[in-house]
């Protein structure tokens, strides 16, 4: 009884399922926001969503376009100043999981959102760090979600904006007061987790219908697969329905405004 769904939907649903009910989640805009709100609207009604704009425990009815849309404030438990958000709530250790997207990710889950090429003469200038550098180190753990491609999944990022496990996989060793770092990467093809020893990202689960070759082809390093490679469970009809409604509501609202 296979449902029709896209690889993007597979990614969103899988990312959403990573969040457990009751977790406090510092949410990045875009894919993480979509996944986090899907989680809240399905299996995790009490997941606490926090956006860097200062909105605490927010329950938007539509997905925000920006990190500070009015909807986030209006549906929040309360809204605090941005310094307080970063100091008390993130650095203060109140965030279980930081949910991030990225432009580039490497085999040690380091993230690059700064630039492609050389810093002094960039080929492509990206937006920059934003909240990510400290979300990645101050949150209890980090989930990352992005589309799988050779351009995005590189052996070594051009610039470490945000620490995964460092260029040698040892970037968190012996650092006091630091979170566990990336514990899973959810793409449109698979789920990856860091190897417990080397911290290199390893494919632990393939999405239904995706072959190893597709993942190898879309990854910029010689990617390894877990011995016990799993098959990611399919989205349920309910999850797909809620996701589609959420996206349709969002599209209508953004077109109107």
């Amino acid at each position: 009884m296979s449902l029709e769904y896209t690889s993007s939907e597979m990614m969103s649903v899988t990312a959403a399922r990573a969040l457990e009910n009751g977790m406090t989640c510092f949410v990045g805009i875009g894919l993480p926001s979509e996944a986090a709100n899907l989680a809240r609207l399905t299996h995790a009604p009490d997941v606490v969503l926090i956006y860097e704009s200062g909105t605490l425990q927010t329950k938007p009815d539509i997905l925000p376009l920006s990190i500070g849309d009015g909807e986030l404030c209006e549906s929040a438990l309360t809204t605090v100043a941005v310094p307080e958000m970063f100091r008390y709530w993130l650095q203060g250790g109140k965030v279980d999981v930081g949910f991030l997207g990225t432009a580039q990710i490497d085999r040690f889950a380091n993230l690059n959102t700064t630039l492609i090429g050389d810093y002094k003469a960039p080929k492509v200038r990206l937006p920059g760090g934003g909240g990510a550098p400290e979300i990645a180190t101050n949150a209890g753990e980090v989930f990352i979600t992005l589309k799988h491609s050779k351009r995005a999944f590189v052996k070594d990022v051009d610039f470490v904006t945000t620490l995964g496990f460092g260029r040698d996989g040892k970037g968190r060793d012996n650092v006091p007061n630091i979170g566990k770092g990336p514990t899973r990467v959810i793409t449109d093809l698979c789920v990856m987790k860091p190897d417990p020893g080397s911290k290199e990202l390893v494919v632990v689960s393939l999405h239904p219908g995706v072959s190893r070759e597709e993942v190898i082809e879309a990854t910029g390093w010689e990617v390894r697969f877990a011995e016990q490679l799993e098959s990611t469970p399919e989205p349920s009809a309910n999850e797909l329905e809620i996701l589609r409604e959420l996206k349709a509501r969002t599209e209508r609202a953004h077109a109107d405004a």
């Binding site: 860097e52 920006s66 760090g129």
Partner: protein, 276 residues
């Protein structure tokens, strides 16, 4: 005590060529009307500070106001790149600009430290990031109690900060409500400050712990109705997500941008954000 001025006079008096300027508003309450006034008055060589440059600095950079930008996330939120910022950084149009980039946590703490009159902010940050290798303003100190290595950045202390707020009372006290970002910090950290407001009222209607900035902490107040558009003002009007999306096409090309600027800023009759 704050003084009620026209937006023209406030910008003319407090924004000098070469000044360090923070125009804050975290997605919400971005002072677009003031930004356009800065463009109209052809201010030059500004050092622009903002956590998220957003469209407002894209416009000011494209108009040639900036020589340096200090920021932590330089995109069009939810849409993509800031093409004018990129064109200036990558190709030097209309003039070369220098950038100094931080993380949000660093800048938020730097604004806090500026408001607190301190020379530096100390926080747990930049661990494992390569940003310190390209920003010589990021240093590290050792905690004298625990030995922990913590990040330190200079506080933000602009010559002038400009924010937009819901309303002022007739004494010049200002209420900011909703996503308050680092706006209060920006005002308190600056030598001078301009606050644009939607309206002036008899009574702010503030609750006991509301974010109210007293008159004596502000230099000038100017009425700018819809002064945050295409950003928004909680309780007054919503964000024009549509304009943010349209901006991508406008800003992608130097000519369409210049045309837009002529039509909506230089030849605009009013102070409003100017989204066609």
């Amino acid at each position: 005590m704050s003084e009620f001025l026209s937006l023209h006079d406030a910008v003319a008096r407090y924004v000098q060529d070469g000044a360090t300027v923070a125009m804050e508003g975290f997605t919400h309450l971005i002072p677009f009307a003031a930004g356009h006034e800065v463009i109209r008055q052809k201010k030059r060589d500004l050092t622009l500070i903002r956590m998220t440059p957003d469209i407002i600095y894209d416009q000011m950079i494209g108009a040639g106001c900036a020589k340096k930008v200090i920021f932590s996330w330089g995109g069009n939120p939810g849409v993509g790149s800031l093409h004018r910022l990129r064109d200036a950084v990558e190709k030097g149009w209309p003039c070369k600009i220098e950038i100094l980039e931080h993380s949000h946590a660093a800048m938020a703490c730097a604004f806090e430290a500026g408001a607190a009159g301190l020379p530096l902010a100390v926080f747990r940050g930049y661990i494992g990031s390569e940003l310190p290798s390209v920003n010589d303003q990021i240093k590290f100190i050792e905690c004298p109690f625990t030995g922990e290595r913590l990040a330190a950045v200079p506080s933000v202390r602009p010559d002038v900060s400009i924010i937009h707020a819901q309303r002022a009372d007739r004494q010049g006290n200002v209420l900011v409500e909703g996503i308050v970002g680092v706006q209060k910090e920006a005002v308190l950290a600056a030598k001078h400050s301009i606050v644009t407001v939607e309206e002036i009222v008899d009574d702010l209607g503030a609750t006991p712990n509301a974010c109210v900035i007293p008159s004596w902490a502000i230099s000038a107040i100017a009425v700018a109705e819809k002064g945050a558009l295409p950003s928004y003002t909680h309780g007054y009007y919503g964000r024009s997500n549509r304009f943010y999306k349209e901006w991508d096409a406008i800003a992608r090309d130097r000519d369409t941008f210049t045309q837009w600027l002529d039509n909506n800023v230089f030849n605009a009759a009013d102070n409003v954000g100017g989204q066609a």
